[in-house]
Symmetry: C2
Subunit: 289 residues, 2 copies
């Protein structure tokens, strides 16, 4: 049992912190920008609601962050009341935000200067994965740091993999989003074509889903797509944020991502349709508008 | 046990006809444009090599065709020495060619006029699926015809589904190819990005392949893609033929297929690189050229 701080009780962080308390059995100190959320969390799980990230991090062995983007992350870690100012030597900062590889390397350097450990640890599995504690966690950092943190992370994860040095977790998450972008658009075009052709989409998926066209998205999204249901899941706004990180990194490393860039623009079309909160699979709605 | 004609002993038809003989236990009459191939087949499996499609179809209860494209198909069925001229009333023509939905409807009409049954029955599963007799068969046609033919088709299939009226098998195969086009390009961009980022692709796939980015293509192609190995599998030339059928049909039914059309052009780039016979997964080679 350790003392664990959790900073950022959003749609992902709230249940993740819950698993650290209930499954992990740790002592939790939580912080959220909107304080009422932290109070609510403490009401549900116990632990201590703190006034600043620095307060939450004070005395903690492990400090988790799960916030919106690079800037939010810098603020809650490096800012005046940021976590780093409260952390004790030897403690480990674990960032679950989907952020840039750049900020991960920046945070590792800042952590090292204070004798702290750092891991970038973005997750996949969505809100349902967070609630059920079965997330996939893609980690970047040093192996000794990883070995110490892994048993703690496992409270909310089904799979925890060390992908390489700091930033490698973020880069792996980027690959995940790149693969999804092309895949979901292909699936959307397939279903769209099938509907135009008057086929029974359920029957089509039953026949083709075990073969070379098969995917998690086909299995898990064809029904909702065919029903035009998008009020759930991983929102278009979040996907665009992730693809912005992806395309910036590709500008640096020289990777060519023609379809990823095009699908990012398709998501911009969906935002213009008012679909900011629709699931990623709403690429079909765009084809059928 | 029935008398079965098989017309077109190519890379797919040769082993499929073999399964009709060995697993199905049928009497086989075979025809191939290059007669030596039919002689070879008869040397291996027995049965009768015939001089024309019409000869092969004479006396057969079921006539299978598996040729290159719409024009080849019209020639071996409707041409002067075509199968229809030899078939007996009540016999069933089963076409395994990946062809247009249009030619399927045309063949059904021609078959009906002669009191014959017709099924369009394109397959997926590739050369390995044909050799192992585990193809997926997507069938269009009438239910009574389907019910009679299904036990015969099962000699080379793992899954045989009736998708709707004549043409529905072809339309389902088109959806399969549409989904694959976007999916493989997304996967290629993901692997390409991962290599540029210096990640271990094996490790990345191990971590992300069970989640929302997962697919048959990721599981079965990432190793060969990462090794730059493309001298196997479903060739770029064949994929372009299929995508031509898809895009023509989309012109008719009004479906919007922006990524499918773009990926078709990427395959044209690969042909220009000399990759006509490379596997479909060679989209990665194009990104890395």
């Amino acid at each position: 049992m350790a003392t664990v701080a959790f900073i950022g009780l959003g749609v992902m962080g709230y249940p993740m912190a819950g698993h650290l308390k209930t499954r992990g059995g740790h002592e939790l100190r939580v912080y959220n920008r909107t304080a009422a959320k932290a109070e609510k969390w403490v009401g549900e799980f116990g632990g201590t609601a703190c006034a600043t990230p620095s307060d939450a991090a004070t005395g903690a062995d492990f400090v988790f962050t799960c916030v919106g983007n690079d800037d939010d992350l810098r603020q809650v870690t490096l800012g005046p009341d940021g976590a780093l100012s409260g952390m004790k030597p030897g403690a480990i900062l674990i960032d679950n935000t989907t952020a840039s590889a750049e900020v991960a390397r920046e945070l590792e350097a800042a952590a090292k200067a204070k004798d702290l450990g750092f891991l970038d640890a973005p997750v996949s599995g969505g809100q349902a994965g967070a609630e059920n504690g079965v997330l996939t966690v893609m980690v970047g950092g040093e192996e000794t740091t990883f070995d110490r943190a892994k048993p703690v992370i496992e409270a909310y994860a089904r799979m925890v993999g060390l992908m390489g040095p700091a930033g490698a977790g973020q880069l792996t998450k980027m690959i995940n989003q790149i693969c999804i972008a092309g895949l979901v658009q292909g699936l959307a075009e397939g279903i769209h074509f099938g509907r135009k052709a008057g086929l029974d989409i359920e029957k089509v998926v039953e026949v083709i889903s075990k073969g070379a066209a098969g995917s998690w998205q086909m299995e898990n999204r064809h029904k909702t797509m065919n029903a035009g249901k998008y009020d759930f899941g991983f929102a278009v706004d979040w996907m665009r944020k992730d693809l912005d990180i992806v395309l910036s990194e590709a500008r640096r490393n020289g990777a060519r991502l023609p379809v990823t860039a095009l699908v990012d623009q398709f998501y911009a079309d969906i935002q213009a349709m008012g679909g900011n909160r629709w699931d990623t699979s709403s690429l079909l709605a765009r084809l059928e508008k």
